[in-house]
């Protein structure tokens, strides 16, 4: 993977972010800038607004006030979604139609597709190679043909990370990737993240605690009741310029 091209605009910039849900302020007064190559941990107790914040950064939740930009463009007008890899907190149950692990991971390639080249005419070989690589990275190659909904919580987490990896984005947004994951898998995830960050990728990570990922983190913010209550910049790791 080549380091991403230098961009003048940062991956995420939010000013005065305000989100209301059912008339209640779930996020308020959020000023946050995530620069290229940052590894930002979003911390805070349950219900603090961490998931809402990352969704607002991605434009998945509308702002009731303030503004937010992805690479300098408001989410509604942003087009380069292949640069973003979003790992949600869990796989929705849906209506019960099964999907194999490989199908789920391969769906991460969708944003890579050109609008002018519909499904039957895309580069199948590149897709397959990226999917195999992602499966191998998270250690799910031998589960590829199994039903995704039958995996354990930790395995599902790894599958969702593999889906984002398969899209080969510049920015990873992970919502509690370590929730319900045993210590070994957490260490494995940390090493995957380490590879990404040394390749210059940007990471926004929601977590309760940092655990084995601590050495990778360059910045943390802590949310409580929808506000940023603490910010730290940790320069514990040599970052590539």
């Amino acid at each position: 993977m080549n380091p991403p091209a230098k961009d003048p605009a940062p991956p995420f910039a939010m000013t005065g972010g305000l989100v209301r849900r059912d008339g209640r302020e779930v996020l308020a007064g959020i000023d946050l800038r995530v620069g290229a190559g940052d590894v930002l941990a979003v911390l805070g107790p349950n219900g603090a607004g961490k998931s809402t914040l990352v969704k607002a950064l991605l434009g998945l939740v509308p702002l009731a006030g303030g503004r937010t930009e992805i690479y300098g463009v408001p989410p509604a007008r942003f087009r380069d979604w292949n640069r973003i890899g979003y790992v949600p907190q869990r796989l929705p149950a849906g209506g019960g139609v099964p999907a194999t692990v490989r199908e789920v991971v391969a769906s991460g390639r969708v944003a890579r597709r050109s609008r002018r080249r519909p499904a039957p005419f895309t580069d199948r070989a590149a897709d397959r190679a990226a999917v195999e690589r992602a499966l191998r990275t998270v250690g799910l190659t031998d589960r590829a043909r199994d039903s995704a909904h039958l995996l354990s919580g930790g395995q599902q987490q790894r599958m969702l990370i593999a889906r984002a990896l398969a899209g080969e984005p510049d920015v990873f947004v992970l919502d509690e990737p370590t929730a319900g994951v045993d210590a070994r898998s957490q260490a494995a995830l940390a090493s995957t993240l380490h590879e990404l960050t040394t390749a210059g990728r940007t990471v926004v990570l929601v977590a309760h605690g940092l655990g084995p990922m601590e050495p990778l983190i360059t910045r943390t913010i802590e949310l409580d009741h929808g506000r940023i209550v603490r910010e730290t910049a940790l320069d514990t790791l040599e970052r590539p310029a």
């Binding site: 099964p98 199908e103 789920v104 991460g108 969708v110 039957p120 039903s147 947004v173 494995a188």
Partner: protein, 296 residues
């Protein structure tokens, strides 16, 4: 079988049954995963108004059904996206309005209860070659949409937020699924009837997912079950002089029961094979370790 093939209308009807058996479960796979199993049902109600309008204006009932049910499907999707709670009641109003309006309009046009019955529960003897051309064209459109947009539609059905974060036009794709379902209702209404069309979208999928592990595997299996039940249901209805729609649906339900039974056998065997594999292999702990090794 050979006897019924002597009749032109039966040959036409059998080709139609194959087309219905392919398209309804294919669209149904997306519908079921989106938890919209009753969408086809609602569209079927609305389509009856379209048939009434078609009869009223002297144009074709099929065209009327097509226009009204696609518009209705789009309206349903917009209502669903707009409001979570109010949407439910709005949908009910649309459904009952469509059904009541359709019955009144059909009656007003001198269409007696026989006409109504044939649209509600299907009637194969009235099918003409030109009907078949229309159905074939619509079925080709539906299958082309699924081939072209299948990967996008799959991600949408899997996780709508991830689909949006991948830059997919989620609104457009949702409307596309609903409109495709509406076209499928029109494809199927002649043979199966408006009140039962959605059964052929849902039941083969429910049967297939007992046996499969993947999305596309489920879709293909469901299409196989759909074709089998449509063709044999039609043949049975000819043989025993039964209405085709209910015969087809009952056969699909029989396939579902068989799949539930067969599926539990398959799962038990798979579980035993997995246990045997572990017993012969390095044991669970060691396997987990090996996996973590790969990860690290």
């Amino acid at each position: 079988m050979s006897e019924m093939l002597q009749y032109d209308f039966m040959r036409v009807a059998l080709v139609m049954a194959v087309l219905i058996g392919l398209t309804a479960p294919a669209v149904g796979t997306f519908i079921v995963q989106r938890r919209l199993s009753l969408l086809g049902d609602g569209i079927g109600h609305i389509a009856l108004t379209g048939i009434g309008l078609g009869l009223l204006t002297g144009t074709s009932p099929v065209l009327g059904a097509l226009v009204v049910s696609v518009l209705g499907a789009v309206a349903i999707e917009v209502l669903r996206a707009r409001s979570r709670s109010g949407g439910d009641v709005a949908l009910a109003l649309l459904f009952y309005g469509g059904l009541a309006g359709g019955v009144i309009l059909t009656n007003a046009n001198g269409g007696g209860s026989a006409t109504l019955q044939s649209y509600l529960f299907g009637s194969i003897s009235s099918v003409t070659v030109s009907d078949l051309y229309v159905v074939a064209g619509l079925a080709a459109t539906v299958l082309a949409i699924i081939t072209l947009f299948g990967r996008e539609l799959f991600l949408l059905c899997l996780d709508e937020e991830v689909a949006r974060a991948a830059g997919l036009p989620v609104r457009f794709l949702s409307v596309l699924i609903a409109a495709t379902a509406a076209v499928t209702v029109v494809i199927s209404m002649r043979a199966i009837g408006l009140l039962l069309v959605s059964a052929l979208m849902v039941v083969p999928v429910a049967a297939a997912q007992q046996l499969t592990r993947g999305f596309w595997g489920t879709m293909l299996t469901a299409m196989g079950i759909g074709v089998l039940s449509a063709v044999s249901g039609l043949a049975g209805s000819f043989e025993y002089d039964l209405p085709p729609g209910p015969s087809i649906v009952l056969l699909a339900l029989a396939a579902f029961v068989a799949a539930v039974t067969g599926g539990s056998v398959v799962r038990r065997r798979r579980a035993r094979a997995a246990l045997d594999g572990v017993a012969a292999g390095p044991g669970v702990e060691a396997r987990v370790d090996a996996e973590a090794e790969v990860l690290g």
